[in-house]
Symmetry: C3
Subunit: 104 residues, 3 copies
Amino acid sequence: MFHTATKITIIAERLLQDGIISIVEAAGAKGYTIVDGSGKGEHFVRPAERAAVVSAFSIIRIEVIVNDAEQARDIARDIAGRFFKQYSGIVYLSEIEVLRPERF
Amino acid sequence: MFHTATKITIIAERLLQDGIISIVEAAGAKGYTIVDGSGKGEHFVRPAERAAVVSAFSIIRIEVIVNDAEQARDIARDIAGRFFKQYSGIVYLSEIEVLRPERF
Amino acid sequence: MFHTATKITIIAERLLQDGIISIVEAAGAKGYTIVDGSGKGEHFVRPAERAAVVSAFSIIRIEVIVNDAEQARDIARDIAGRFFKQYSGIVYLSEIEVLRPERF
């Protein structure tokens, strides 16, 4: 039996990892996955750098799955509000199907 | 011309990689992508460890795309049934659009 | 407030990275994320190798988010047309929800 769930993906500078994970865990999410990457672009540039040349830099990509879409939106809003006004980064939501909702 | 397809994402401990890939290939999937990462949480803890402190550990994230949603669900059920009762890990499905269905 | 956007995911051999990023930037996308991985399968095999044993090899996974679904399809078509007739690789689209459409 498959059930609809919501995946939160956060792409951020590495220095934000612990702060983002704290929010994710405090919100009651039961797990997360982190992958290393690199990124470039306006949404990865701090305000002070906006006029300068955008250079590639190291990022992390965090995935979190929760059963409830509203809980996912709350977590996304919280992370964006807490970090992505001063720091570069993005958060987005995807609808997925999972097998065992009790794991999320 | 874009066509609807289904993406299967499997997040598992590295020791399961060969077993998971065997199921994916036996099911007739034409390709897969593997990315390394780390993970933490209830769905990554073996039953014997559930009472202990959850520590972060190395995982793999495997993506497989198939044209048929029912084939995707069969593969997901097979992987979960074979591995994710004893080992930690998750599998989820996403609807995507692809350009050349004959490649999947 | 969440808004619908489209994520383009490109999985390709590493040698295509600069060419793909050029198309993404020329199309007006404001950012991208790159993760390293490995891949195997028919859609990663060059035509000349199709009869041979398929071996795993290094790939990159690029994600790009744009607000407009038709812009996403144009970028995907352009990348597939330019690279994925001669080289192996795939491109697919996913519908997502984002918080600040002006960042994409």
